[in-house]
Symmetry: D2
Subunit: 349 residues, 4 copies
């Protein structure tokens, strides 16, 4: 039983931050030019560029689209994308990159979701061989799918390695806010380590909006056309722009991410000592991955809102969001403790 | 000068209907499952199916995406789509269908935007010839790009013709509400004439949401995967669903469309008698196409909000929306009359 | 009845020139490196470059592949190809360009198959508008699908126009030999008018081989990878190379084309005066297009070897090849005269 | 030094079998209908169907094209192909499947190149989940890239497993002749284990031709259009057909494969006992993979004709072909023995 109404199943289960909702209402004043030629959209683009140092910013509808548009700016069809085997691009986007870009992904097993120069080097065989897809882009996620973060030093080392090998870098920033919060760095610090990146808003309090940031103007050629052709140009674009502006205003994006991260840390701390629970990865964002016993897994079903029923996995992903509270976390922790207790009780009976 | 704040440049220039905005706020209560497994999304799909007789309904982000997903359910890469040369699919979607579906469009010049069995027949050469793309789908828009409507009799005749020729029909319903208002028929009446169609919400009071309706379950196979792979699966989907539900509630979609149509009719009536203005097509939806003199064209610049500057075309498209008022229309008509008057005055001086 | 065994249905109905067949046998001496790293392939590439001034030459299997590879070197998915509506690329390649390149063709009605700066200019609307596919390449065929040739002056004027408009030129040279023969110019003269072109061998005496010629090294980047990814890299490539070398040796390609052209001219002269026959286009290569009466059309069925049965079109295409003889032509002309005579006889009876 | 003129670098280094060359010359008698409507092509298709039980046979230019066309008949863009990580489709086709089909490959590490039901089962996670590419086809090669063969029992067990899981099977038969020779079974025995397969001719004595065999007529719908759109329809198709017919005549394909296999076996036997050489995989076709010392690797450079220079790998692939003789093999073995001897001599010095 989950009396809180809170889901730990995904940061997409959260609603919209009140400030974002207010911004949407405020944007709804009369008529405005469509397709980004309105005042709010101009301001959103300018704010994104100011916050990150990007030469170009383009809003799209969702994270898959941001990844495909972003990678697509860096690649030709015979070039490939080195990525972690567990990456969203490789696993969770139903082959969008393959279909829309006609390109091949070159996945690398990466135990904690993080690429290294060594792992990348292992995927560079066959360069110059016309029978082989040519590695051209390295895609990495910050935060990764395992909830881990690259340090700035790691990112810079990857950046240097990629440059030395003629590789471009795309950073999937669906949770880049959580990474900035964890590393206590600016968006610009992170953006400087990529050629193109996304700035995720949806999971961090928006209703539905993501930004693609192109760091070098030369890579942005044709970007507006690619966005349109990839079916990602919103007509009433001011309503995406308003969301982005609301998150950038007074660093709401950062406050939201800090709250989510803090709740994940609290959750990890609460679970860490319990029987039947073992953390699978370092908690460096808003995700807690835990190997759990069957009893604990069963107890968690109500807390993750997944519609696909009673499947019980041994590794459970618990996500927090800007709206998760200490009470929510403590209630979940207590529920897990109870399930562990009851198991022990019944075991000792 | 345009003192009204109203744009006649596009129905995409309108804001969001207050009832839709209220529904978005109401949907923002706590956490909910993502990707359409929430209560609002289930209700939206059910309501769409009930209103149209569709076997399946899928929400997407914009009209281009609805067209590509919808057509894509009906076609293999070597099959082609017969469409009006002026169609949105052919002209205004930056080649999305060609890129995402790998398919060829087979455009037909259609003076008033409307296809006929004869025009379609003229595109059927080469069936069975492996060197030729095989015509398989007929795409038509209701309302058309010229602001005209097919009558129900015309649609049924096209439907019958297509069936007899083994062709499937896709109806681009970005403005299907305006057509239903004009024809005084139900959505189901229109939907029954298509294999797949879109139900446009964005131009009719929504913030950004369109539905793809599949009339036969067998055609829907894989539709959910296509949507995801085409980057059109919203994570916080309840907020698209809430918009659709708000429009379906008490037939708001129909009231909005009637208002827009009535304002277009008023505008057409007001302009019809003026010197320097000649209507280009029958006004059967919310668009008024007018051939205008240079002076009138110049006077209209302020009223269409187009960012691309001082280009003055001889045929001007004026769009109304749910939020256009009689005062807005009358002010525009008066401005055109003044520009005509001043021209006559200066001409007679 | 056709006692000659000769087909006028297509230049693809001809066999292989004896010199080409001999070259294939001569190439079959022991083992050689695959995929173009053999001596014959190096010589073929060098000979093609020497004959045309190309920076790069790549062999492919057929004409459709040459067009797709060639156009693909010049274009991104959101860019379009202006071409004659009747072009092979648009009509006869089953949508290969759309599928493999994801690009849109922008066809222009061109009565005699030839584009002009004016026709191209009419297709340039919407440049810079992100909703529109951006015209980037002009594709023209030399000889055209109507059997007509651009003069060198026309080509140079098109070239200049394209340069001034930022357009690149692709020349479909499936029958470029016939054009060079007609214009009495060199391959280099024609190649200088294009950015990329094909050099057709199959219809001109080869068994099956075409070359893609890239005039500027910068446009050739990645060409070898595109060829492989487009499934056009032959493994025992020496056998394609041997065909090309045989045709280039002592200008066999030119002699073959002259023979074909001369036979087409003889055929046109023979048919010109006959009742029930009217030439549809100037005969400037190896094709004769004739509007014919039903009787003549029926009489021609045996001479065009088409498998698709008794369809009788009013415009018939008659093709000659390197192997067509004067006797073949005269026999065909006589047969047409007989069919005209018999019609007149029966008409006068 | 390699005095034999024979390459062990690839079976693509071999020339054309004299009987195939004679058939090509014999096919060059006058004119014939193009694109497969000629007598030779009809006979080739009939012979392929008779030999394999296929419902449909289509000739294409090379092995990559056969794989892409064959897999493409079984799959929609959101469906994936389970294949061995080392498969030609995954490694050596420059991403053709991804580009032309828009599909994702789902590679599985398979130490000896062979898939098993267990390996396939490990790739079936996420069926029904719209975020995941849906496994639909299992691709396997017979002979594999490691030179190993599936037994008929293994193939039948895979077939049964695939059926039970709703998976279709594509068999890459670039070297299916070698497998039939090894297993002493018919082509029909192998074909019965697949839904679609290729019959490789090029590596087995042809100049350049492969066949795609579709076992069930329902899967062949549209196949001719796919072939054309994928740029694989030869115009003078009789010359591909003649090659196939020559190989099928009196089982030349089988005699060629037996010769190649016998020479590989002889080579393996000759190398097996030598110092500095260890066979990497069972030799079940015409490939011998050997882990070799640096000295042996160096000695082998002259025998593999690779143009890419002095790279010396520790695992060397040695291929035999229909034209490899006992003398060729014995000369190679002797050369390896000498390089081992000299090393031992210098080591003991």
């Amino acid at each position: 039983m989950n009396p809180t109404g809170r889901s730990f199943g995904s940061d997409n289960h959260a609603g919209v931050h009140p400030a974002v909702m207010a911004a949407l209402a405020a944007a709804n004043t009369g008529d405005a030019t469509a397709y980004g030629e309105d005042e709010l959209s101009r301001r959103a683009v300018a704010a994104l560029q100011a916050a990150t140092g990007a030469a170009r910013a383009l809003l799209v509808f969702n994270g898959t689209a941001a990844n495909v548009l972003g990678v697509g700016l860096l690649i030709r069809p015979y070039e490939g994308v080195i990525c972690a085997e567990s990456s969203h691009l490789n696993v969770d986007e139903c082959g969008a990159a393959e279909r829309v870009l006609g390109t091949k992904l070159l996945p690398v097993p990466a135990p904690d979701g993080k690429l290294t120069p060594e792992l990348i080097a292992g995927r560079l065989a066959g360069r110059g061989d016309e029978h082989r897809v040519q590695a051209r882009v390295v895609e990495l996620a910050q935060v990764t799918e395992a909830g881990t973060c690259y340090s700035l030093a790691e990112l810079r080392s990857l950046r240097e390695y990629c440059r030395s090998e003629g590789l471009l870098m795309y950073l999937d920033g669906a949770r880049i806010a959580n990474a900035a919060a964890h590393l206590n760095c600016s968006l610009a610090d992170l953006a400087a380590c990529a050629d193109v990146l996304s700035f995720g808003c949806t999971k961090n309090g928006a209703m539905g909006a993501e930004a693609v940031l192109v760091m070098d103007e030369r890579l942005a050629e044709g970007a507006a056309f690619h966005r349109k052709q990839q079916m990602q140009l919103g007509s009433k674009l001011r309503f995406l722009s308003a969301q982005v502006l609301a998150l950038l205003e007074d660093d709401l994006w950062l406050r939201n991410a800090r709250q989510a991260n803090a709740m994940a840390a609290r959750l990890a701390a609460g679970l860490a000592g319990l029987p039947g629970v073992r953390l699978a990865y370092p908690v460096e964002g808003n995700a807690v991955f835990a190997k759990v016993s069957r009893d604990v897994a069963t107890a968690l079903q109500d807390w993750i809102f997944h519609a696909d029923g009673p499947e019980v996995r041994s590794v459970v992903r618990l996500m927090t969001s800007f709206s998760t509270t200490e009470d929510d976390v403590d209630a979940l922790t207590a529920a897990v403790r109870r399930s562990s207790d009851s198991r022990e009780t019944s075991a000792s009976a």
